[in-house]
């Protein structure tokens, strides 16, 4: 256990060194040159504030933010994937839905915040709604693209093997074939959704959560706290992305291992 830990440090020595230098530089610049906790809190300030925040109920805020995120992603997956599938498989659905999507898509997700509040009030659903708006389009479009790129030879091979109904072709051929594209769409959507989450909480669609706390502490001019929440948002986003990638690459997309090295 101890040996493998040391080995990891050795293997990732450049990465670790780079991080340590960055933190040291930060501490130096903040502590000696800027010397102003409001303009640039130092690494040390941030660490101490972090422990204060833990004691004052960080877990509730993290869980609240994750709840908002979950509402958004669940809704986006439940609506986005079937929509992308039917647009990709049935030409008429594509023609009917595409103009609507093309008009709604350029609207920045944050522009939906007022309606989110009006429709859902100050509930978790309001913040989830903004996340949903941010996530739905990358999911729909990548699912659609994945379906459009299903190789004709797979569909024909399936047909001569006795798989001729649309529902069977979608389930057995098109979905697995489009899965890399769908997964990429979900990943992009998670990035967008995470940003929308912070904005939604900041601009009043919630009275808890990491984004809300970030803005609240800004009003109190506690910039060291603001920085802690910023870093937390970054780490949490990174963690969610890695978790998703690990699951998808090792469980669902093992068969693509040869195509991308």
């Amino acid at each position: 256990m101890k040996i493998s830990f040391i080995k990891t440090i050795k293997e990732n020595s450049i990465e670790a060194l780079s991080l340590m230098v960055a933190v040291a530089l930060w501490q130096l610049v903040a502590g000696i040159i800027v010397h102003n906790k409001f303009l640039l809190p130092s690494f040390y300030d941030v660490v101490t504030s972090f422990f204060v925040i833990i004691k004052s109920g960080l877990v509730t805020d993290i869980l609240t933010s994750l709840l908002h995120f979950s509402i958004g992603i669940a809704a986006a997956l439940i609506i986005g994937i079937p929509l992308g599938i039917s647009m990709g498989w049935f030409k008429k659905v594509d023609r009917a839905v595409d103009p609507i999507i093309e008009i709604l898509r350029p609207i920045p997700p944050l522009a939906w915040i007022p309606f989110g509040i009006v429709w859902f009030g100050l509930t978790h659903q309001a913040a989830g709604f903004v996340v949903f708006v941010g996530m739905i389009f990358p999911i729909v479009i990548n699912t659609y693209t994945g379906f459009k790129n299903v190789s004709k030879v797979y569909v024909e091979a399936a047909k001569v093997l006795g798989c001729t109904r649309d529902i069977d072709l979608i389930r057995s051929i098109a979905i697995p074939s489009a899965l890399p594209s769908i997964a990429a769409g979900i990943r992009i959507a998670m990035g967008v959704g995470w940003m929308c989450l912070v904005a939604a909480e900041m601009f009043g669609a919630s009275n808890r959560g990491l984004g809300y706390q970030l803005w609240f502490n800004y009003y109190l001019h506690r910039m060291d706290f603001v920085l802690v929440y910023m870093l937390l948002l970054g780490f949490l986003g990174l963690f969610i992305d890695r978790l998703f990638r690990y699951y998808v690459d090792s469980k669902l997309l093992r068969w693509t291992a040869g195509t991308v090295v």
Partner: protein, 254 residues
């Protein structure tokens, strides 16, 4: 039993923009007897692949009729297995799961289907690779698996569209030998599209040669060579020469 009968089949491709048509096939007629190995041979663009795809049910005909055991063909059906020129194994399924695909579509449980296809995996010699994904296999092994996948449905006729076209010469020879072995064991009717005279002379009972576009039948050549055949025997060479000359006539006609 698998008796294919092609009667006066024509196929015209119409362009959507101006309505002009290209005649790919013109009144093609021939029969394939049960258990026979027939090659369709012709210059590129003569419509041989189109004809095979019509028989598979993946393409429609403009006029005429094709029957399998007297029943007209209207769409794809597992009774007519097909092996494609491109690698067509589903990359997201392992080799064994590719081969069980047809059985699963018939509603057979996966575990039961796996047991049933074991003999086809043996037949094409892929026992060692049954749990691999297609990207881990060479081109020749992928086409072997594709043949096993088509056979697992126990088709009455096996349609093959230049299945060895993308393989190197040595692998192609090995697979030709193996295909003949399979054909003798399973006694399935095979209709095989190729542009290689050597391949058609080595494999088939009869060679249906076609003219350049529009594709018509030029001549049906009986290959009366005893099996197992020698690739370079005097009789084979004579026949090869004859068929090559038939095709050459087509080249000058253009």
């Amino acid at each position: 039993m698998g008796r294919v009968s092609v009667k006066y089949v024509s196929r015209i491709f119409t362009k959507k923009e101006d309505g002009t048509g290209t005649e790919a096939l013109q009144k093609v007629s021939f029969d394939v007897e049960d258990g026979e190995f027939v090659c369709l041979l012709g210059p590129s663009g003569c419509g041989k692949t189109t004809l095979l795809r019509i028989i598979a049910g993946l393409e429609v005909l403009t006029s005429g009729e094709i029957t399998l055991n007297g029943i007209p063909i209207i769409g794809p059906d597992p009774k007519r297995g097909m092996v494609f020129q491109q690698y067509s194994l589903f990359p997201w399924r392992t080799i064994i799961d590719n081969i069980t695909f047809g059985l699963e579509m018939q509603g057979i449980k996966k575990a039961e289907a796996r047991k049933q296809v074991e003999k086809y995996i043996d037949l094409v010699g892929l026992e060692q690779f049954k749990n691999s994904y297609p990207y881990e296999l060479s081109g020749g092994m992928q086409q072997r698996a594709a043949i096993a996948r088509a056979l697992a449905n126990e088709p009455e006729v096996l349609l093959m569209d230049e299945p060895f076209g993308a393989l190197d010469a040595q692998t192609r020879n090995v697979l030709q030998d193996e295909l003949l072995k399979i054909w003798e064991q399973r006694h399935v009717t095979i209709l095989f599209v190729t542009h290689s005279v050597d391949e058609s002379v080595f494999l088939s009972d009869r060679i249906v040669t076609m003219t350049s576009r529009p594709g018509r039948i030029k001549e049906i050549v009986n290959v009366e060579l005893s099996r197992p055949r020698c690739r370079t025997g005097a009789e084979a060479n004579r026949l090869r020469d004859y068929v090559l000359k038939l095709l050459e006539e087509e080249r000058f006609k253009r």
